[in-house]
């Protein structure tokens, strides 16, 4: 399927560059989605949508001029090209003849979600509901959400890029509330990927079972302890900590504005030798993967930390140009309505040698943080706060009781330096990352990781 005639893209690019500029780009997108939720035993909010649109961008020095429009009509596209032709300077010529956009390496989709009957998706939600409710009388509420999306994109630019991608994502999320004697706890679990409905064919109800087990287990939680202590962070979603406290600080826009604690630290040891970490947008089928980024650069595996040394920042085209390096394929955007900015794809610690049990055995008194309810980081300082949604006490080298109300308070650089154990059980979770008003799918992941000391803000006296 083709969205834009390359000749039209070329005309728009020439028009956009007529008052100068180093780079002009046309981005076209056809995005479709369907979603369905189940709440209180009722399948509701079926919703489908389709949007078609394009944007034009001119980059001139440090400035970007950007416009977008709904639809792909030639006159609209030309009007946008006119509105972004604001750069002062000599008229630039693209000088290259654009080829038809061609695809990067596509992530396999075996069962296109749009070919699956909506009734089957509704049944999926119902079976998750039943499974969760069968976990015990304490299960009070179950909500299940299913969402699928497909984005067909084409990128053309004045450097001759003519690239296309076809991205399909599906995600199932289950939230279970358990209640006993006035105590209420929540368990959540998701499964998703850059893949088709095949991801949800085999035992999707396991997602519900796990959420329910967590909610019920947490009913026995005690107030969390306070103070500095060793923290073992769980795999998959535990990677939120790396994403927030380290990853955002490696995005080149923050670095170039010195708005990151990692600015100027390339090549320096920022972590112990056992720490290696990647951003990998090419990881097959992973949630944050894509064939190309939203500027047409093929996605790749970028080593961000190698044996403790900071090795790379994450670049889009504009920031890469400024630093005289190549884009790392991290120029991402939420849709044709947004300017690309450096964003993580799938960011994770490389697996180590230990087992999760070994990491826990080494802790006399600490916290096992399995999952986070979310968190916030100040990129300029690296200070972070994370709410622990599922946490357990570690006492005498064993996981003992669940705890509630724990938060992790610290600083990204300090936490990274304090990593003293990494297990081998790497998994990628399905997150959504917000930045500059844009929300994109971001894979967060890691194996089990132990941080020697971190401040736990608890509620226990």
């Amino acid at each position: 399927m083709t969205l834009l005639d390359p000749a039209l893209a070329q005309r728009a690019i020439e028009r956009a560059l007529r008052r100068g500029g180093e780079l002009a780009e046309v981005y076209a997108e056809d995005r479709r989605g369907f979603g369905l939720t189940l709440d209180d035993r009722r399948v509701e909010r079926p919703q489908s949508g389709r949007e078609l649109g394009a944007s034009v961008r001119v980059v001139s020095g440090e400035s970007s001029y950007f416009g977008h429009v709904d639809g792909l009509a030639e006159e609209d596209l030309m009007r946008v090209a006119d509105s972004v032709a604001q750069a002062a300077g000599a008229p630039a010529s693209p000088g290259v003849r654009l080829e038809p956009a061609s695809g990067g390496s596509r992530h396999p989709v075996e069962l296109a979600p749009e070919d699956v009957d909506a009734a089957r998706k509704a049944e999926l939600l119902r079976s998750c509901d039943e499974t969760a409710r069968s976990a015990g009388a304490e299960v009070a509420q179950v909500s299940v959400g299913y969402v699928e999306g497909r984005r067909v994109v084409e990128v053309y630019n004045s450097d001759g890029v003519a690239a296309a991608d076809d991205r399909t994502r599906v995600r199932l999320a289950v939230q279970v509330v358990a209640r006993r004697d006035g105590v209420v706890e929540t368990g959540s679990e998701t499964r998703g990927g850059h893949a088709g409905f095949e991801l949800l064919v085999e035992h999707p109800e396991e997602v519900a079972a796990k959420a329910a087990r967590t909610a019920v287990a947490l009913l026995d939680a005690r107030p969390a302890p306070s103070g500095p202590m060793p923290v073992v962070v769980g795999n998959a979603f535990g990677g939120v900590l790396l994403h927030e406290a380290v990853g955002h600080g490696l995005e080149a826009d923050a670095v170039q504005k010195s708005a990151s604690v990692y600015a100027g630290k390339l090549g320096e040891a920022v972590a112990p030798e056992l720490v290696t970490a990647y951003d990998d947008g090419s990881r097959p089928g992973a949630w944050g993967s894509e064939g190309i980024d939203d500027e047409g650069t093929p996605t790749q595996r970028t080593t961000i930390i190698e044996e403790g040394r900071l090795t790379s920042y994450l670049y889009d085209l504009v920031r890469a140009r400024k630093d005289g390096v190549a884009s790392t394929g991290n120029g991402r955007r939420e849709s044709f309505r947004h300017l690309p900015v450096p964003r993580m794809t799938n960011t994770f610690f490389a697996p180590g040698e230990a087992t999760p049990e070994e990491l826990i055995e080494g802790v006399e008194r600490g916290l096992y943080a399995v999952s986070f309810g979310g968190g916030q980081v100040e990129p300029a300082t690296g200070d972070f706060v994370f709410g622990v949604s599922e946490g357990y006490l570690i006492e005498g080298g064993r996981v003992t009781a669940p705890v509630r109300g724990a938060t992790l308070i610290g600083n990204g650089l300090e936490a990274l330096r304090a990593v003293d154990g990494i297990a081998g059980d790497l998994e990628i979770g399905t997150g959504y990352c917000g930045k500059a008003g844009q929300r994109v799918a971001a894979g967060v992941g890691q194996p089990h990781v132990r941080i020697g000391a971190l401040t736990v803000g608890g509620t226990a006296a």
Partner: protein, 450 residues
């Protein structure tokens, strides 16, 4: 512009009915938006955009479905109407779902400033540059990281198969600056912001100066020792908390068992000092509109008076379930999603004390100027929360050392009951929805540091 949109909304309704829907509602939006980011005295990015779209809610008796699209041609509207009807087939029936019984429009004044259109791009760029200069002029500021000016100008139309059709135009403009003060481990950030109907309502000097002053007052912050003490929340922080509480007053959250105020209607849940209302009829409130997201007339809705919780926020579906009337609280965030129950402009009635007087009254305590992780840090059912905070210690009734890496922990019920005073300096804040917030003095909170 509005007449065309109304026609599009009507045609979308007709398309859904033609596809077999028993009832339908069409919502259409059209607008132009601009965003300007400046950095280091030059334009960093300039975005100019036009957008339009339509969303259709279709009913098959008690089942409902939603679809949206960007194609407002007859065939595009036909596709959306048919897709909404198709979607409704997979939903389970909900006997309370359906169009509202009563529709109408309130008088809200002019929600659109012509200046959004009249100001040239150059003037808007100059406004942003001026805010940046104002921040940079502060001697403690080491870096101005972000300066953003944005505006939107557009129209919205709603039509339904019971014969309702109406539209309105509105605009908004806002700007914010994020500045750094101090270097290395002393570095702290500060935010300054302003908002209004158009660029003429923004004071770039004040926005830049606010960012600089906030950052400068925090530079060199350290982690303090743990304590229990009176806490003053400044207006930005108070807005975040009030917005969160406002969300829990949605009848949908209540009926789904996700609000800690579920059985508290009519009860005393706060001190008499805190008076809250939801008001979509204020001409200067950015969430104002003559009718709500399903065509029910807007009104001023008192929520908290004399410490009592007067009512929840209802749309027509939650109202039917509760045997009540809609309060005109169906919100539309965009044509891409169906209406949902929520606050419009949440308004805290200002008190009499200045921030300085609240700090003096606190004696020994903490002024919180920023919180992190509020939405993940609050348990919506129990209301317990533990959020990251930065601010200044208060000693002997005066501001003392800046502090960071602290958590403040309490629960929303105790917090509402510990409001000792509301400040007089009310302002609009776009956090947690549209909130007109004022500083709050809380009698006691647990502050945990080292």
């Amino acid at each position: 512009m509005s007449a065309d949109l109304e026609a599009a909304a009507r045609r979308a309704v007709e398309a859904a009915i033609a596809a077999g829907a028993s009832d339908a509602e069409g919502y259409a939006e059209e607008g132009v938006e601009r965003e300007i980011r400046v950095y280091g005295g030059a334009v960093e990015s300039l975005t100019d955009a036009a957008s339009r779209g339509v969303g259709v809610r279709a009913f098959l008796d008690a089942r409902s479905g939603y679809a949206y699209g960007t194609d407002l041609s007859d065939s595009g509207l036909g596709d959306v109407g048919a897709a909404a009807t198709e979607a409704a087939r997979v939903a389970d029936p909900d006997e309370h779902d359906g169009l509202p019984e009563e529709t109408g429009a309130a008088a809200v004044g002019d929600l659109r400033s012509r200046e959004v259109d009249r100001f040239t791009t150059e003037r808007k760029v100059e406004l942003a540059l001026r805010a940046e200069r104002a921040a940079r002029a502060h001697p403690s500021v080491s870096q101005v990281e972000q300066v953003v000016y944005a505006d939107v100008d557009g129209a919205r139309a709603l039509a339904n198969s019971h014969g309702f059709a109406s539209s309105f135009e509105s605009s908004a403009a806002w700007a914010y600056v994020s500045a750094f003060a101090g270097e290395g481990s002393d570095l702290m950030t500060g935010l300054g912001l302003g908002l209004g109907r158009g660029p003429e309502a923004l004071d770039p000097d004040a926005i830049g100066t606010e960012a600089a002053a906030r950052a400068a007052s925090l530079a060199g912050a350290r982690q303090p020792s743990s304590r229990r003490c009176p806490v003053v929340l400044d207006a930005l922080v108070s807005a975040s908390f009030l917005g969160f509480i406002g969300g829990m007053l949605s009848a949908d959250a209540v009926q789904r068992g996700r609000s800690l105020f579920a059985d508290r209607e009519g009860e005393e849940i706060a001190t008499a000092e805190l008076r809250l209302a939801d008001d979509a009829t204020l001409t200067d409130g950015l969430s104002s509109s003559p009718f709500d997201g399903e065509g029910v007339a807007r009104r001023r809705l008192p929520l908290l008076e004399d410490g009592r919780l007067l009512t929840f926020l209802f749309d027509s579906r939650t109202a039917r379930r509760a045997g009540r009337s809609s309060t005109g609280s169906a919100e539309r965030s965009s044509y891409r999603s169906p209406p949902s129950v929520g606050t419009s402009n949440l308004v805290a009635e200002p008190g009499h004390a200045t921030l300085e007087e609240l700090v003096a009254e606190a004696g020994d305590g903490l002024l919180v100027t920023d919180v992190a992780g509020l939405h993940s840090g609050v348990n919506p059912v129990s209301g317990t929360f533990s959020v990251g905070a930065t601010g200044r210690l208060i000693e002997g009734g005066e501001l003392a050392a800046p502090v960071r890496e602290i958590t403040i922990a309490s629960d929303l019920v105790s917090m509402l009951k510990s409001v000792a005073a509301v400040g007089s300096e009310a302002r609009w804040v776009p956090f947690g929805g549209s909130v007109r917030a004022a500083p709050l003095l809380l009698r006691e909170m647990a502050v945990s540091g080292s």
